[in-house]
Structures are given as structure tokens and as C-alpha cells.
């Protein structure tokens, strides 16, 4: 398994991480090496086995639909890098 620089850039774009050309080269080599180690998994017979998403037999845990305490606006915004008029501030999403 060998990841090309284009594939690494594609993954980085999906993951929203800016990479330098040196990063691309290093990650291509390292990720390819790690994926090689995983190749043996393909040969394991898993016919008829259900995938495990989670170790416990719990599903669809519900709670009553009642209002509970939550953070106040000021608390929620206290760590915001940029806030304005009670909102998180970001650059334009649409150009």
C-alpha cells in the first residue's frame, strides 16, 4: 500500500488540515508504512460476523423530553476566539 502525494492532499483536505510540501512527503511515507502493517487484516475470515461498533449491549438510550439546565450565552462564548453581539464570529462562508 503506497499513498501518493495527491492522496495525502485529498485526505488532508477532507480532514481540514493545511500541509506543507514537506508534510505531504513525510505523511505519505509514514501512513503508507502503517497501512502496510494492516494488510494482514484483509485475510481474516469474517464471513457471517456482525461488526462491533460498541462493547456494550446498549442501544437507543432515551431520556424524558424535559428542559434541563444548560450553559448561559456568556459561558458558551467565554472561550470564543472571536465573538460579536452574542454570536461566534467567522469569516464569510460564501464568497
Amino acid at each position: 500500500m503506497s499513498l501518493s502525494p495527491e492522496e495525502v492532499l485529498h485526505i488532508a483536505r477532507l480532514a481540514r488540515i493545511a500541509l506543507t510540501p514537506a508534510d505531504v512527503e513525510r505523511f505519505a511515507a509514514q501512513l503508507s508504512g502503517i497501512l502496510d502493517q494492516f494488510a494482514a487484516l484483509a485475510a481474516v475470515d469474517t464471513d457471517g460476523l456482525e461488526p462491533t461498533a460498541h462493547p456494550l449491549p446498549l442501544s437507543n438510550v432515551m431520556r424524558a423530553d424535559v428542559v434541563t439546565a444548560s450553559l448561559m450565552q456568556g459561558e458558551a462564548l467565554a472561550n470564543a476566539p472571536e465573538a460579536e453581539d452574542g454570536f461566534f464570529r467567522v469569516r464569510a462562508v460564501l464568497e
Binding site: I11, L41, L49, H54, P55, V61, P81, A92
Partner: protein, 486 residues
């Protein structure tokens, strides 16, 4: 009075009750020790000395009014991914360097209700991704047994604090070995509970189907006491188990005659240090002397695949969990770019360290179109195979005993540039993590002057039997190197 920091939590509690000293005196002794050794050990990212003394004064009031419980007034280190209201919580990452949580985690609330004292927030590999603390954005911790060596990780700061005397006990978190491996390398007891025993509310997420908080301590009794405090159902974590849990302290001091121990062949691999092998063989003999049956014929053939399964599933879950770090709501933000997307990509490039980026990319790849079936889905199916093998083993055995780590502590820098060699540190701790089973690591002797850890794995929610076996073993071994000489 000067060496109070050397006590176990249960010894300290007895003496606090007997009014031999106060929690303020105990806490001051620990803080004095922190001032003396922290420049060499670097167990903490943040030391909360004033808060600790304030909490100690509250604890002394509880002792005065006879409302103290076993953890009241006991100074503890709290891993820095456990959110603490008003106290900076970084998860070892630059991306959270200024993050001051507006709420408390469930586990910290339970410790505070018990009157425990927080000495500080313990160092860790960034977002718990690592086995040495070398991936901390705040610099590595050093192993108190030998400062040139790693303390293990990711909860390496928690383990180093306990063995350096900078706390009497600690909380860590375990996703693939992050409590047990550092406990093993630092000569402590560390317990990764059954998935769902402890609420993950307020734990900065890494791999949500694997993460569990658990204790690190100087002996099995302390670890049982800490786990009792933080266990139990919490409706704020939908994966928290709703069944009531047994009081583990009740299982201390019981004999283990007739206990059936399975020893999986697959855990005795080449690459295991001879000193580690020797200590484990002696441990198995000791279990036989204690009246256990030790069966070396147990086979868990899918063990060899646990590493691949883990390093596909955990990074996949991490890639989703860490999508929240966008530089908008909290944390480090680089908004020098022209667009929202450019800012997000720059924020994540500048805020995350090397290993975190590597794992996010690995997980993103494993979940991406065209590769999902071959990697993520396949790993989930092999996870079922691993679970089934453990389930069959627990039909025949009460507990499974293995080494915790193939080696003792290794030098700082030795594996830093070879990610896969670093991943191999977790080879013995990953399988039970993948299955969600409880597993403890406790010291079973020394190899070349460094601690060796023994791992005891139990069936789902069978922490009682794990504690019973671990405590009986510890008492028979007579381990007394509870604080390292620095």
C-alpha cells in the same frame, strides 16, 4: 511529618482520621515535593496549589465534623483531558492551550463530593495519542525511576506524579493501554475499568467506543477506592452502564484458592524482554502457590490482529471527534486567512501536533469513500472475532493473566521517529481495550532495576474478581517500592 507525600491514600486517610496531621499539612507536604522534583519530572501541565490548599481546608472541616470518606483530603493528580470548571484543561494540545472549561466532568464532580484534593492537571500525550508523553505539546514527563526514560503514556504524567510523590493517587484515561502501560513503567497500580462503568461526561474525547477513565495508585486498595468513587451510572453519558456496581473495597483481603487463571500463548512473543518474561513466570508460580489453577494452554488466536483493529478504529473515531476543533468556538485560532475554510485548515495545522495529525489522517482515510469497507468495517468485524474469543475464554477462566508491556521503560526519543514502533508498546493492552473488558496492571518485580507490570483481565463488569486476584497477589509479593528515589 516531612515525608507525608510517601503515604498511600488509605494510610493517609487513617492518619487524618486519627488527627495525626491535617489535610492542609498533607497537601503542603505534597506541594513541597512538587516544588522539589517537578523541574526534573514534569508530571503536571498545570499545578493548582492555591486551589489544593483551599480544598484541603474544606477537607479538614469534614474530618472535624466526622463526615470524611476514604478520599477526603487526599491530594490527587488529574489527567489534563478531564475537564475541570474554571481550571485550564488542555488535553496536552496547543489547540486547547487557553481553554478554561465552563463545566465539570462527572469524575471530577464525584471526587469533589468525596472531598478529594486536586494538586494539578497531569501531563499526557496530546489527546491521549501516544505511549510516552513525548507527544505532549508541553514537553515530555520523565520517569521518576530514571529521568532519562519515558514514564509511558498517554497518562504518563499521572503515573509519574504518583511514583514521584507529587500526588498520592491519580486519574488517567485508557483507550488502548494509556493507564496500564504508564502504571507498568512507573511501578504503580493502574486500572482500566469495563467500558461503561465510569461516565465519560466531561472527558475530552479520543476514541468514543474505547475511552474509559480509571485510577492510578500506589497499591490495589487505593485504586479500588478511587474506582469506587468514580463508578456508576450517569445519564449524561448514554454509554454509561445503568446497572448498579459492586463496592470493590469489599473484595480486598480475600483468598483466591481455586481461582481459574488462563494465560494466553499469543502474549509470549519474541521481542519480550527476558527480565519481563522471568518476572511473569515467577508471578504465575506465585498464583499457583496461592491455590489458583494456572492454565498455559489458553489460545486467543486473533490477538495478533488487535493492533491493526485498534489503529483503524481509534483513529477513525478520533478523526470524527477532533473535527470540533475548528478555531471558532474555543481554543487556538489562526484567523489570518481570507476565508472560513482557510482559517480552519490553518488553525488545525498550527494547533495539532504531529501524531494527532497522523491519526486524524489515518482515520479520515479509513472512513473515506472506497476504503470504508476494507478498513473500518473490516476492523469492526475482526473486533467481533476478538470479543468472541474473550467470551469463550471466560467460560473456562475467572481471569486472564498477561504481561502489561513487552519491555520496561525505554529512553526518551528512542521511538519518537518510528510511529509503528511506538504503537507496538500497546500490544498487550490493546486486545482487552478493543473488547471493552476491565484490566489492571500492578507491579510484579523489577528487571534491570525498573518495574515490570502484570496485567489481570476480567470479564465484563467483573472488576470484583480482578481486584480480588490483584490484591491477593500484591499482598503475597510484598511490593514496597511505592515511591521512586529521585
Amino acid at each position: 511529618m516531612s515525608d507525608l507525600w510517601k503515604l498511600t491514600a488509605h494510610e493517609a486517610h487513617e492518619k487524618l482520621r486519627a488527627k495525626e496531621f491535617t489535610s492542609v499539612e498533607l497537601t503542603e507536604s505534597v506541594l513541597e515535593r512538587v516544588r522539589a522534583v517537578e523541574p526534573k519530572v514534569h508530571a503536571y501541565i498545570t499545578v493548582t496549589a492555591e486551589l489544593a490548599l483551599e480544598q484541603a481546608r474544606e477537607a479538614d472541616a469534614k474530618y472535624a465534623s466526622s463526615s470524611a470518606t476514604p478520599l477526603t483530603g487526599i491530594p490527587l493528580a488529574i489527567k489534563d483531558l478531564i475537564v475541570t470548571k474554571g481550571v485550564r484543561t488542555t488535553a496536552g494540545s496547543k489547540i486547547l492551550e487557553n481553554f478554561v472549561p465552563p463545566y465539570n466532568s462527572h469524575v471530577y464532580e464525584t471526587l469533589r463530593r468525596a472531598g478529594a484534593v486536586m494538586v494539578g492537571k497531569a501531563n499526557m500525550d496530546e489527546f491521549a495519542m501516544g505511549s510516552s508523553t513525548e507527544h505532549s505539546a508541553y514537553g515530555p514527563s520523565h520517569n521518576p525511576w530514571n529521568l532519562d526514560l519515558v514514564p509511558g503514556g498517554s497518562s504518563g504524567g499521572s503515573a509519574a506524579a504518583v511514583s514521584a510523590g507529587e500526588a498520592l493517587g491519580a486519574l488517567g484515561s485508557d483507550t488502548g493501554g494509556s493507564i496500564r502501560q504508564p502504571a507498568s513503567l512507573c511501578g504503580n497500580v493502574g486500572f482500566d475499568p469495563t467500558y461503561g462503568r465510569v461516565s465519560r461526561y466531561g472527558i475530552i474525547a479520543f476514541g468514543s467506543s474505547l475511552d474509559q477513565v480509571g485510577p492510578i495508585g500506589r497499591d490495589v486498595e487505593d485504586v479500588a477506592t478511587l474506582l469506587d468513587c468514580i463508578s456508576g451510572h450517569d445519564p449524561r453519558d448514554s454509554t454509561s452502564n445503568p446497572e448498579p456496581v459492586a463496592d470493590l473495597r469489599h473484595y480486598l483481603g480475600r483468598d483466591i484458592k481455586g481461582m481459574r487463571i488462563g494465560v494466553p500463548k499469543e502474549y509470549f512473543i519474541s521481542g519480550m524482554e527476558p527480565g519481563v518474561t522471568a518476572r511473569i513466570e515467577e508471578a504465575l508460580k506465585l498464583f499457583e502457590e496461592l491455590g489458583c489453577t494456572v492454565d498455559r494452554e489458553l489460545s486467543l488466536p486473533s490477538t495478533e490482529h488487535a493492533l491493526a483493529v485498534y489503529y483503524i478504529i481509534a483513529p477513525s473515531e478520533a478523526s470524527a471527534n477532533l473535527a470540533r476543533y475548528d478555531g471558532v468556538k474555543y481554543g487556538y485560532s489562526d484567523h489570518s486567512g481570507g476565508s472560513m475554510w482557510a482559517n480552519m485548515e490553518q488553525t488545525r495545522a498550527g494547533g495539532f501536533g504531529e501524531e494527532v495529525k497522523r491519526r486524524i489522517m489515518l482515520g479520515t482515510y479509513a472512513l473515506s469513500a472506497g476504503y470504508y469497507d476494507a478498513y473500518y468495517l473490516k476492523a469492526q468485524k475482526v473486533r467481533t472475532l476478538i470479543n468472541n474469543e474473550f467470551a469463550a475464554a471466560f467460560q473456562k477462566y475467572d481471569v486472564i493473566v498477561t504481561p502489561t508491556s513487552p519491555t520496561v521503560a525505554f529512553p526518551l526519543g528512542a521511538k519518537l521517529n518510528d510511529p509503528y514502533a511506538m504503537y507496538l508498546n500497546d500490544i498487550y493492552t490493546l486486545p482487552s481495550s478493543v473488547a471493552g473488558l476491565p484490566a489492571i496492571s500492578l507491579p510484579c518485580g523489577l528487571s534491570e532495576g525498573l518495574p515490570v507490570g502484570l496485567q489481570i483481565i476480567g470479564n465484563f463488569f467483573d472488576e470484583p474478581r480482578v481486584v480480588q486476584a490483584a490484591h491477593a497477589f500484591e499482598q503475597a509479593l510484598g511490593w514496597s517500592n511505592r515511591v521512586a528515589r529521585i
